[in-house]
Amino acid sequence: MPVTSQLFKALGSREIRKICRSAVLLRPLTAPWQRSCPPAGAGQRHGYRTSSERCYNLTPPQVNSILKANEYSFKVPEFDGKNVSSVAGFDSNQLPANAPIEDRRSAATCLQTRGMLMGVFDGHAGCACAQALSERLFYYIAVSLLPHETLLEIESAMEAGRPVQPILQWHKHPNDYFSKEASRLYFNSLRTYWQELIDLNNPGEKPDIKEALVTAFKRLDSDISLEAQVGDPNAFLNYWVLRVAFSGATACVAHVDGNDLHIANTGDGRAVLGVQEEDGSFTAHTLSNDHNGQNEDEVKRVLSEHPPSEAKTVVKQDRLLGLLMPFRAFGDVKFKWSIDLQKRVLESGPDQLYENEHTKFIPPNYHTPPYLTAEPEVIHHKLRPQDRFLVLATDGLWETLHRQEVVRIVGEYLTGVHHQQPISVGGYRVTLGQMQGLLMERRARVSSTFEDQNAATHLIRHAVGNNEFGTVDHERLSKMLSLPEELARMYRDDITIIIVQFNPHVIGAQ
C-alpha cells in the first residue's frame, strides 16, 4: 500500500536524526531503517566514496534543473511605478533530501488586514503535520488578526450563504499543493475558531499582532490534537488526521506590516535579518531563538515544567526525553497526550496506524505530559532602512552554512556587488603566479552568482556545493545532487528557504 510505504520511508529516514539513534529504538525496526542508518566514521566515508563512484557526474544544466525545480519568486506589484509595500518581494526554493520532502513553505498576503505572511515548516516523522501547517496556519493567524467587525461580517455572510471575501491571497509554487479531502474538515475547525473569537472579543477591539500569533499557533495545534481524538467517519480522513497528529513539524513564520516585522517561531527553524552596514557589507541579525537542546533558556523552561524528579530524563543527549530534537513543535501527540489517550486513540484507529511499531511506541520516562508545546516565541523588530532582507529557513540550511555566511551570500547576490576589495599590489612583493592563483579563486567565487535568478536557489547552491574555500565547487555540487535517494539524507537535510526583500525607501519614509 503506497501510503504505508511512504510513511515507513518517511519515518525511517527522519527518525535517524530527529528521534533517536539509540539501539533501543533501532533494533525493533524493519530492514529499510537499518539500511539508511548512518554508520559512524570510516563506514560513512566508505559509503560516500562508493556512492560517488556509482552516480553520474551531472552537467551544469542538469544541476541547474535540479536546483531550480522548486524555485519561486514573487514581486509585490507596483502602483504607478512605485511599490508602496515595505516588502519588495520574495524568492523561495526548497531542495529535498528525504523522499518525499518533509519541509513545507507558505506565503500569502492578508487581504482583510494589511501585511504579508511567510513561513517555513520542517516536518518530522512524515510530512503530514508540516503539510497541514502550510495549509492552515496562515488562516488561523489571519483570522486572529481580523477586527471584530470583519469577523461578524464573514460569519453573517457564511450564515446567509453569501460569498465571503477571501482572507488570504496565496503565493504558491505549483508543487505546493493543498489537500482537497481535508479542506471541509479544516474549514469547519477554522469557523468554530472565529465563532469563538466573535464571542470572546469586544467590538472595536483591535487584536495585538503578537498575541494573535501566539493564539493562532496554539489554537491550530489544539485543533490538530482534537481532530485526531474525535476522528472522522470517513476512513481516509480519519487516518489522515491521525497521521497529522502523530507526525510533527516546526514552524517559523514572519508577519510583515509596514515597518513592523514579527517572527513567530516554534522549533529550530530560524529567521535572520540581513543588515547592510555603511561600508556596504552585510551583517546577520537573528530574529528567532532555536528551540532545542543548545538553547539554555529553552532547556530551563522545559525542566521548570516538570517535577525535579524527572530532571535527568526530560532532556537527555540534548533531546526531549532523549528522542526529539526540537523542543517545541506542532503535532507530535506522542509527547503531548497521556498514555491512556494515546492507547485509546490507537486502538480505535485504523489498522495501519495500530500496526506501526513507531506510533505504538511510548517514549520512555513518560510521566507528566505534555512535554511538548506549539506555543511560539514571538520577536518584534522595527524595520530600518538598512534592513535589506530576511532569510527564513529550516535547519537544513543553518546546519550547513553559518548565518553570517548566509547573509553575505544573499547580500552580495541581491546587490550584485561583490565586496571583494579590489586587489592592489602596493609595495608588496607579489609574483605573477601568486597573483594568478588569487585571481582564479576570486573568479570562482563570483562566477556562481550569475547563474541564478532566484536568491534562494543561489543560497542552496552554496549550502550544498561550497568547498572548503567558501566557493561553489561544481563537482561537489554534482555529487551531492546525484546521491541516490536513500543516501541523500545522510549528507544533507531538506532545505527550505524564503528570502524576503524589503523596500528601503518605503521603510525609510515611514
Binding site: 571583494q420 579590489p422 586587489i423 592592489s424 599590489v425 612583493r429 607579489v430 609574483t431 605573477l432 603566479g433 597573483m435 594568478q436 585571481l439 582564479m440 576570486r442 573568479r443 563570483v446
Partner: protein, 888 residues
C-alpha cells in the same frame, strides 16, 4: 640631419627646460610616473604669451598632434600653433606600451606603421632626443590553423608593400624568444622590422623637431571652442584667450568627440574610450634583453615586450570596460584604477605563454584608456560641415604605430587639398552624424576592442549597434529568413535561409574556406539568372538635384565625366572625378525632368558625396540639393522574368522594345502610383530597380511577391548580387574604385565624354592620361585549378603575380556560380624597369597567379567580361521567338 641637431638649440623658449630635464632623467624612465621636473617645466612654459593669430591651430599635444605639427613644419607651413591642455604627451601617449608594428589588417594602416617606424628610427639622430628606439622585431603567434592562415594572408599582403617578414615554425620562435612556450603553437609570423620606443620621448622628439621648424607649442592651454563663420574655421577660443586661424586640427584623442561637440557648428568625431590594462614586472633574473622580440599572441589576446629587464604585457580582453561615456571630468586620466580581476584572463594567457614568469615579481598594473572608433579604423581628414576643420584621432590603441604615417598623410592633405594615398577606409567622412550617439559608440567599442585580436575571417560583420537604419520591409524579410549585414548603419540582407534549413552558429561559421551559405546563395543566383529575384537595396544614397533653370544640369556636367544632357527619363552611369581624374564617386544619375536629377550613389557615400557636390555647388538659391535617401525604398527585381512581373502589375509592356535599358519611368505598380521604375539592376542582369515612396513599400513588395509567385520569384540578398556583379566585371566604388583610379584604368572610357560642351572636373588629367597611356589596369582574374571545396577562398588584398613577378593586388572577389570558378577583380601594373604603360597585349600575354595565404593559384586575366554571361541577347531572342509564336 646634423643641422637639425644643432637647430634644436634654437628651440622655442617653451621647450628648452623640458628638453634638459627629460634628457637627464630619461635613463630612469620616469615616463610611467609623474616627474615633478616636468611639472615645473610646464609651469614655466605657461609664461609664453599666446599668439593672437596663426594659420593652423592643432589641439592635442600627444604623439598624434605633435606628428601633425612636425609634418606640417616639414612641408613648410609657418604660423603653426600646438595647444595642449596639460603637458605634452601626458595623455594616452604617456601610458601607451610603445610597440611599433606593421601587423595591421589593411594596407594603408601597414603603410602608415611602416613609415612611422622609419621616422622614429631617424628621429633621435635628427633631434638629439633619445627615443628609446630598439628594432626588436616582433612575433605574431598562431595557436590554431585559422590564425595561421590569417597570418599567412597578412604576410603576403606585407610583401606587396615590400615589408620584410617571414612565416616561421614554432621551433624558430623558441630560438628568437627565450621565454615562449611553443607547445601549443602552429606557427608564427616574424616581422624583423618592428620596434619598440618610449612613446613620451618620441612625442617629445617630434615636438622638439617641430619647434625647431617654428611650430609654437603651448602647454596648459585648453581649447574651449572652435569659431566658425560661413562654414569655415575662423579661430579658436582658449582658456588663455582667442587665436584667429584658418585651419584647426582636432588631435584631442580621448576628448576629440567632446571637442567636436563644442565647435560652433558641431563636428561629429565618433570615438569612445575604453580602459586598457597592461602589466609591468620587475627585472627578470637574468634580465630580459631589450632586443627581445615583441610577442603578439592574438589567440591569447595578449602582447608582450621587454621592459627594463622585465616584461610589459597587455591585451585586448573580451569584455572591455568603456569609459568617459558621459564625458570628461568623471575621472582624471592620470588616476585610473588598476583592476586585477579584470586582468586575470590576460595574466593567465601570459603565464600560459611564458610559464617561467610565474615567479617573476609584479611591478605595476597600468590602466591606460584608449579611444576606439565604430569600425576599428582611425578618423582622419577634413570634416564635411566645417571647412578647415581637420581631425586625426581614434587610433584604436595603435596610436604610436600610426601617428607618424597618419600625421604625414594629414599634413599632406592640408597642403595639397586632397589625401596623397588611398585613405578612404580612414576618412572621417565615412561616418556621419548617425554614428555619433554615445550609446551606439559605447556599445560598438565594446565589440571593437576585442575585435583587434579576434580572428577576422572574410565577410565578418559587427554584431552591436545594429538595426539603426532599416527598410520598411525589414520585418517581412526577417521573418522570411533574412540574415543581415550592416553598411553605414543600414541593415541589408546577405541571403535568405530557407525554412527548415539551419546554418551554423556565428562562431562556428567562421572560415577561410567555403562558407556554409554557399548553396543558399547559389540558389539565389540561379533564380536571378533563370526567373526573378527581389533584393531590397534601400540603403543606397539618393539625392535630388533640381533648379529653376539649367543650373542643375550645368553643375552635373561640371561634376560628372559622362554627358548628362540626355533626354528626360534616361539613366547615365557616371563617375564624379577629381582634378586628377580619380573617382570621387561612382553613381547613376537619372534625369527626372528637364531640370531635376535623381542621383544614386553607394551607401557609404552619403556624407562624402553630399560634401563633394556641396563643395562645387554655386550658392544659388535657385539650385537645390536634397538628400532623399530616407524617402524611397529601393527594390531590385533581377532576372529575365522581372518584366513579366512588372507588366502584370502595371498593365504596361515592359519588354526591351517598350522599356529600353537604362531608362526610367514614373508609373504605377499595383495600387501605388508614382513609382520610379528604372531598367537597371547594378549587376548586368536584366531587370528593374523600383524606387518606391516608403509608405507604398510594403504594398508594392507584397504585390510583387504574390504576382511573382508563378514566375518563381524569391528573395535574394547582397551576396548573390555581389557574385553577379563581380562575374560581370562590375567595379564598385569603395571596394574597387578609389580617388586614385581613373575611368581609363578600369575600362570605362565609354562613360567619359571628352567632347561634351562643358569642361568637367578631371578632364585635363584624363586627356593627358589618354595621351600617355595608363600605368595600371583593372582586370578580372578567373582562378584556374582552384577547388572551391578544398582550397582557401580569395577575399581581397591578395597579391597578383604576372610571370612570377608581383604585378598588383586584388580588390574584391566572389565565386561565380555561372562560371563555377572564383573571380577576382584587381589592378595590375608593369614591373619596375619595364615600360610603365599597360597595353592589352601586356594583360593578355602574361601568366597570372593569385597568392592566397602564400599559395599561388593560376588565373586567367581578362580585360572585358565574358560576353556569354550577358543573357540579355539570348533573352531577346527568346522573346522574338515568343512573339513570333503569338503572332501566329
Amino acid at each position: 640631419m646634423r643641422s637639425c641637431v644643432r637647430s634644436s638649440r634654437a628651440l622655442s623658449p617653451v621647450l628648452i627646460p623640458r628638453l634638459l630635464s627629460d634628457a637627464s632623467c630619461w635613463g630612469a624612465r620616469r615616463s610611467l610616473s609623474c616627474s615633478p621636473r616636468r611639472l615645473t617645466a610646464a609651469a614655466e612654459g605657461n609664461s609664453a604669451p599666446l599668439p593672437s593669430q596663426a594659420r593652423v591651430v592643432i589641439c592635442g599635444g600627444g604623439i598624434v598632434g605633435t606628428s601633425v605639427a612636425y609634418h606640417l613644419a616639414k612641408l613648410g607651413w609657418t604660423e603653426v600653433v600646438l595647444l595642449e591642455q596639460g603637458r605634452l604627451g601626458a595623455g594616452t601617449t604617456r601610458l601607451c606600451a610603445g610597440i611599433v608594428s606593421v601587423a595591421k589588417p589593411i594596407f594603408i594602416e601597414s603603410k602608415m606603421a611602416d613609415y612611422s617606424n622609419t621616422l622614429y628610427e631617424r628621429l633621435e639622430e635628427e633631434t638629439g632626443v633619445k627615443t628609446g628606439y630598439v628594432r626588436t622585431g616582433s612575433l605574431c603567434l598562431a595557436q590554431n590553423q585559422d590564425r595561421f592562415i590569417s597570418l599567412k594572408r597578412l604576410a603576403s599582403r606585407l610583401k606587396v608593400l615590400g615589408i620584410n617578414c617571414s612565416v616561421i615554425k614554432p621551433k624558430e620562435v623558441a630560438k628568437l624568444h627565450p621565454l615562449v612556450n611553443i607547445h601549443d603553437l602552429v606557427g608564427a609570423l616574424h616581422l624583423p622590422g618592428d620596434a619598440v620606443v618610449s612613446p613620451p620621448d618620441v612625442c617629445h622628439a617630434l615636438a622638439v623637431a617641430a619647434a625647431s621648424h617654428g611650430v609654437q607649442i603651448h602647454e596648459r592651454t585648453s581649447v574651449n571652442h572652435v569659431l566658425v563663420e560661413k562654414g569655415h574655421v575662423t579661430g579658436v577660443e582658449t582658456d588663455r584667450g582667442p587665436i584667429e586661424c584658418e585651419y584647426f586640427v582636432n588631435c584631442a584623442g580621448q576628448w576629440a568627440y567632446e571637442l567636436g561637440q563644442v565647435s560652433e557648428v558641431k563636428v561629429s568625431v565618433p570615438l569612445h574610450g575604453c580602459e586598457h590594462f597592461y602589466l609591468l614586472t620587475k627585472a627578470l633574473e637574468p634580465p630580459l634583453q631589450p632586443s627581445t622580440p615583441v610577442l603578439m599572441d592574438m589567440d591569447g589576446r595578449i602582447y608582450v615586450r621587454a621592459w627594463q629587464g622585465g616584461i610589459l604585457s597587455g591585451g585586448f580582453e573580451k569584455n572591455p570596460k568603456p569609459i568617459f561615456t558621459e564625458g570628461r571630468n568623471q575621472l582624471e586620466i592620470q588616476n585610473m584604477q588598476e583592476d586585477w580581476d579584470h586582468f586575470e584572463p590576460m595574466l593567465s594567457a601570459l603565464l600560459r605563454r611564458m610559464p617561467s614568469l610565474d615567479s617573476c615579481e609584479i611591478h605595476q598594473l597600468v590602466n591606460c584608456p584608449e579611444s576606439f572608433t565604430p569600425d576599428m579604423r582611425c578618423l582622419m581628414g577634413e570634416t564635411t560641415g566645417v571647412h578647415g576643420y581637420f581631425v586625426l584621432a581614434g587610433m584604436n590603441s595603435s596610436g604610436l604605430s600610426f601617428a607618424g604615417g597618419a600625421g604625414r598623410y594629414l599634413a599632406e592633405w592640408m597642403t595639397f587639398g586632397y589625401p596623397t594615398d588611398h585613405i578612404w577606409p580612414l576618412d572621417i567622412t565615412r561616418f556621419g552624424n548617425l554614428q555619433s550617439s554615445r550609446t551606439f559608440l559605447r556599445h560598438r567599442v565594446m565589440e571593437v576592442m576585442p575585435l583587434l585580436y579576434e580572428l577576422k575571417v572574410p565577410r565578418w560583420d559587427f554584431q552591436t549597434g545594429r538595426q539603426l537604419r532599416t527598410s520598411p520591409l525589414y520585418d517581412r524579410l526577417d521573418t522570411q529568413g533574412a540574415r543581415w549585414m550592416e553598411k553605414h548603419g543600414f541593415e541589408r540582407a546577405k541571403y535568405f535561409v530557407p525554412a527548415g534549413k539551419d546554418l551554423l552558429a556565428l562562431d562556428q561559421s567562421k572560415t577561410f574556406y567555403k562558407p556554409d551559405w554557399f548553396d543558399i546563395v547559389g540558389a539565389e543566383v540561379k533564380c536571378c539568372k533563370e526567373a526573378v529575384c527581389v533584393i531590397d537595396m534601400s540603403s543606397f544614397t539618393k539625392f535630388e538635384l533640381s533648379s529653376t533653370g539649367d543650373q542643375a544640369l550645368e553643375l552635373l556636367q561640371h561634376l560628372c565625366a559622362n554627358d548628362l544632357d540626355v533626354p528626360v527619363g534616361h539613366i547615365v552611369h557616371t563617375g564624379m572625378l577629381n582634378e586628377r581624374g580619380g573617382y570621387e564617386n561612382d553613381c547613376s544619375v537619372v534625369r527626372i525632368s528637364k531640370n531635376s536629377f535623381f542621383i544614386i550613389s553607394p551607401t557609404d557615400q552619403q556624407v562624402r558625396c553630399w560634401a563633394w557636390i556641396k563643395k562645387h555647388m554655386p550658392s544659388d538659391p535657385q539650385l537645390h540639393l536634397e538628400d532623399v535617401s530616407w524617402k524611397y525604398t529601393a527594390l531590385n527585381l533581377i532576372g529575365p522574368r522581372a518584366m513579366d512581373v512588372l507588366s502584370e502589375l502595371s498593365y504596361v509592356s515592359m519588354t526591351p522594345e517598350h522599356f529600353p535599358s537604362l531608362f526610367c519611368k514614373e508609373m504605377s505598380v499595383g495600387y501605388a502610383n508614382g513609382i520610379r521604375v528604372m531598367s537597371m539592376t547594378h549587376t548586368g542582369e536584366p531587370g528593374f530597380m523600383l524606387y518606391i515612396p516608403i509608405e507604398y513599400a510594403l504594398h508594392v513588395y507584397n504585390e510583387v511577391m504574390s504576382v511573382g509567385q508563378k514566375y518563381g520569384i524569391r528573395n535574394a540578398g547582397y551576396y548573390a548580387l555581389r557574385s553577379l556583379r563581380i562575374e560581370k566585371f562590375f567595379a564598385f566604388w569603395g571596394q574597387d574604385l578609389d580617388t586614385f583610379t581613373t575611368p581609363l584604368e578600369c575600362g570605362r572610357e565609354f562613360r567619359v565624354k571628352f567632347d561634351k560642351d562643358t569642361d568637367f572636373i578631371g578632364r585635363a588629367a584624363l586627356l593627358k592620361q589618354r595621351q600617355e597611356g595608363v600605368s595600371r589596369r583593372f582586370i578580372m582574374l578567373v582562378l584556374e585549378d582552384h577547388d572551391a571545396e578544398l582550397d582557401l577562398w580569395p577575399w581581397w588584398g591578395e597579391p597578383i603575380y604576372r610571370n612570377g613577378e608581383l604585378a598588383g593586388v586584388t580588390t574584391s572577389s566572389a565565386y561565380s556560380y555561372t562560371l563555377e570558378r572564383h573571380v577576382c577583380l584587381g589592378f595590375v601594373s608593369p614591373p619596375p624597369g619595364a615600360p610603365p604603360i599597360i597595353t592589352p597585349d601586356f594583360i593578355n600575354r602574361g601568366d597570372y597567379e593569385v597568392d592566397i595565404a602564400g599559395q599561388r593559384y593560376p588565373a586567367k586575366a581578362k580585360l572585358y567580361p565574358f560576353s556569354s554571361l550577358f543573357t540579355q541577347q539570348r533573352r531577346r531572342k527568346d522573346d522574338m521567338e515568343l512573339s513570333n509564336f503569338q503572332g501566329k
